[in-house]
Symmetry: C2
Subunit: 322 residues, 2 copies
C-alpha cells in the first residue's frame, strides 16, 4: 500500500496502518499489506498511478488529488459548504455515493473505498489577518480540491503541495497560508511555529472522506472471503479514523491554545458568505463541464435536500442546546 502521507502520521498515516494491520489480522496472515509512506516507494501525488499500473496493489490518500485524471474525484473527498462526516457516510453507503465512486474510477482499473474521515477540518494557518474578502486577494495558500478553485476565483493563488512540505513552505514565506487537516494533524507538523493565526471552520472540507484505492485486477484475483475482508476493513478504517480525530482533535486543540498560545479566529461572516457564494458557482461550473461530475453533484444535491432537515432537528438542534 502506497500512501500520500508520512508513514504513521497521526490520523491519516495511522489510519492507513490500521487498515493494513486489520486486513492482516482478519486474514490470519493470508493477505499481508505493507505500508509505504509518501516518497518511500512513490511520491505522494503518484499514488493513484502506482495503483493503476499495479506497482502497488493498494493506495491510501485523498480523492481530490486525482482531479487532473478524474474531475469527479473532487466530489468524493467532499464539497465546500456541504456535509459533515456522518452525513457523507450516509451518502456513500446508503445514498448512492459508492456506486458513482466505483463507476468514476472503473475506467482506470482502480476500485475506491472510503477508508477514513477527518471530520470537519480547520480553516488553516495564516500569516496575514483575514478581515475581509479583500484580504484573500493575492493570498498564496496551499489548499487542494474545490477549496483551491474557490480561492483562485476570488483572486488568490492556490497551490497544492504534499503535507510533509508544508512547514518549510510556510516558514520560508513560499506560501502565506495553508490549510492541512485539524488540530491533531496540524499540531503534529508544528504548523503553529510557522504561522500567526489559526482560522476556523474548514468551510472547504466540512467532512473530508479519505480513500483506499485497490488495483482492480489484484482485487479480482482474491478469493471471496479476502475480498470481503478488504472491503470491511476499509469500512472499519473509515470509522476508526473519524473516532481518532474526534478524540485527539479535542486534546490537540487544548494543547495549541494553552501550551502554544495559538491565536484562534473565526472567518468573518462576510468572508464566509462570499466563500459560500463562490463555492456554489465553482461546483456548478465543474458539474457543467463533465458528465460524471454532473451526475455526482446531482446525487449529492438530492441527498443533501433530505439529510439537512434531519440534521437540523436532530444533532444540530441538540448540540446548540446541550
Amino acid at each position: 500500500m502506497v500512501t500520500t502521507w508520512p508513514r504513521d502520521f497521526p490520523g491519516l498515516g495511522t489510519g492507513a496502518s490500521y487498515l493494513a494491520r486489520t486486513i492482516g489480522e482478519m486474514s490470519g496472515g493470508r493477505l499481508t499489506v505493507k505500508v509505504y509512506g509518501g516518497n518511500e516507494l512513490v511520491p505522494p501525488f503518484e499514488v493513484f498511478d502506482a495503483v493503476q499500473r499495479g506497482t502497488a496493489e493498494m493506495g491510501h490518500g485523498g480523492a481530490y488529488y486525482w482531479k487532473g485524471k478524474i474531475p469527479a474525484s473532487l466530489y468524493f473527498s467532499g464539497v465546500p459548504f456541504s456535509m459533515t462526516a456522518s452525513e457523507m457516510m450516509g451518502w456513500f453507503y446508503y445514498g448512492g455515493g459508492m456506486e458513482l465512486y466505483h463507476e468514476a474510477y472503473a475506467p482506470f482499473g482502480v476500485i475506491p473505498y472510503p477508508a477514513g474521515s477527518s471530520g470537519t477540518q480547520m480553516g488553516g494557518w495564516f500569516n496575514k489577518e483575514i478581515n475581509s474578502v479583500e484580504d484573500l486577494k493575492g493570498l498564496k495558500m496551499r489548499i487542494p480540491g474545490f477549496g483551491g478553485e474557490v480561492l483562485k476565483q476570488i483572486g488568490g493563488t492556490p497551490v497544492n503541495i504534499p503535507g510533509a512540505e508544508l512547514f518549510t513552505a510556510l516558514q520560508s514565506g513560499t506560501i502565506d497560508a495553508t490549510e492541512w487537516v485539524g488540530p491533531m494533524n496540524d499540531l503534529a507538523f508544528g504548523l503553529f511555529r510557522a504561522a500567526k493565526y489559526y482560522y476556523y471552520p474548514g468551510w472547504h472540507e466540512p467532512g473530508t472522506s479519505l480513500e483506499a484505492t485497490i488495483n482492480a485486477e489484484a482485487f479480482a484475483a482474491l478469493p471471496e472471503d479476502l475480498q470481503a475482508i478488504v472491503v470491511t476493513a476499509c469500512k472499519a478504517a473509515n470509522l476508526d479514523m473519524l473516532a481518532e480525530c474526534e478524540a485527539k482533535n479535542g486534546q490537540a486543540l487544548q494543547s495549541l491554545l494553552k501550551e502554544h498560545q495559538v491565536e484562534l479566529r473565526p472567518f468573518p461572516d462576510e468572508v464566509m458568505a462570499e466563500l459560500k457564494r463562490v463555492s456554489l458557482e465553482v461546483i456548478d461550473r465543474q458539474a457543467a463541464k463533465d458528465e460524471m461530475s454532473r451526475r455526482v453533484w446531482d446525487s449529492l444535491q438530492a441527498y443533501m435536500e433530505q439529510v439537512r432537515p434531519w440534521t437540523e432537528i436532530g444533532s444540530q438542534y441538540f448540540v446548540n442546546r446541550r
Copy 2:
C-alpha cells in the same frame, strides 16, 4: 445471535443482520451467525442472560436494557445532554471507553462491543402537548435508561416495553407517549398513526450506541483470525448503522411530514432547561451509588471537556453557517 429487535427491523435489526452476514462472508463460512429476532429464541430483555449462559453466543441490543444487572451499562448507551454519535465513537475507541465497557461486563463472562449507532434520536410521540414542565407530570411514557429516571424525578411514570409492543400500547392508551429511535424506525412501526405530536430533539439519547455482546468462552475458543473478524465486523457494523440512519432518517422525515402530516414540535426551552438540570442530578446520583458508574462518568466528563470545544469550532460552527 439473539437480538432485542424484530428481525430485520430497519436500522436496528438490519444492523444486526449486517453484522452476522459480514462475519460469515469474511470468514468464508468458517463462522456463521444465525440471527434471531426478539422472542424468536428468547424475549428481547433476556438477550443478555442468554449470552451470559451461552444459550446464544452473541447478542445485539442496547446496553441500558441491562441496568438492573450492570448499573454502569446506562452510560455506555449514552447519557442525556452529552454527546453526538461521532463524539461517542471517539470516546469508545480512543478515549478509554472500550476498556471500561469490557471491565463492566467481565464479571458476567460477556464481552461487549459498540455495533451500531442510531445517531441523535427524536424526543418521541406524544398524545398530550408539552408546553411546560407541568405537562410532564403524570405522563406515562415508554422511555428507557437515564431518560426514564429523569422523567420519574420530574413526576412522570416511565415504563420500558420492547419496541414491537409500542404501537399497541400507545394506541390503546396504556401509555401517553413513547420515544423510540428516529424517523426511519418510528415510521416503520407506524407510530404516527397512534400519536398526535412528534417532538424533538432526543435530549435523552443524543448519539445512542447499540451493542453486540459475545459470550466470553465462545470468543476465547475462536482462533485469532476469527476473533479479529468478529471485532472488526462490529466496528464496521457500528458505522454501517449510523450511515443507514443518516440517509434514511432524512427520507423518512420527509415522508412523515409530507405524506402523513405529522405535527413536528420542539420541546419548549423551559422544558429543555429543566430536563437538563434533572439529567445531571440523576447521572451524578447514579455515579455516587456505584463505583463502576462513577469511574465511567468521570471518564466521560473528562473526555467531554476536550471534545466539546472541538465540536464547537468544527462541525457545530460549520453546520450553523453552511
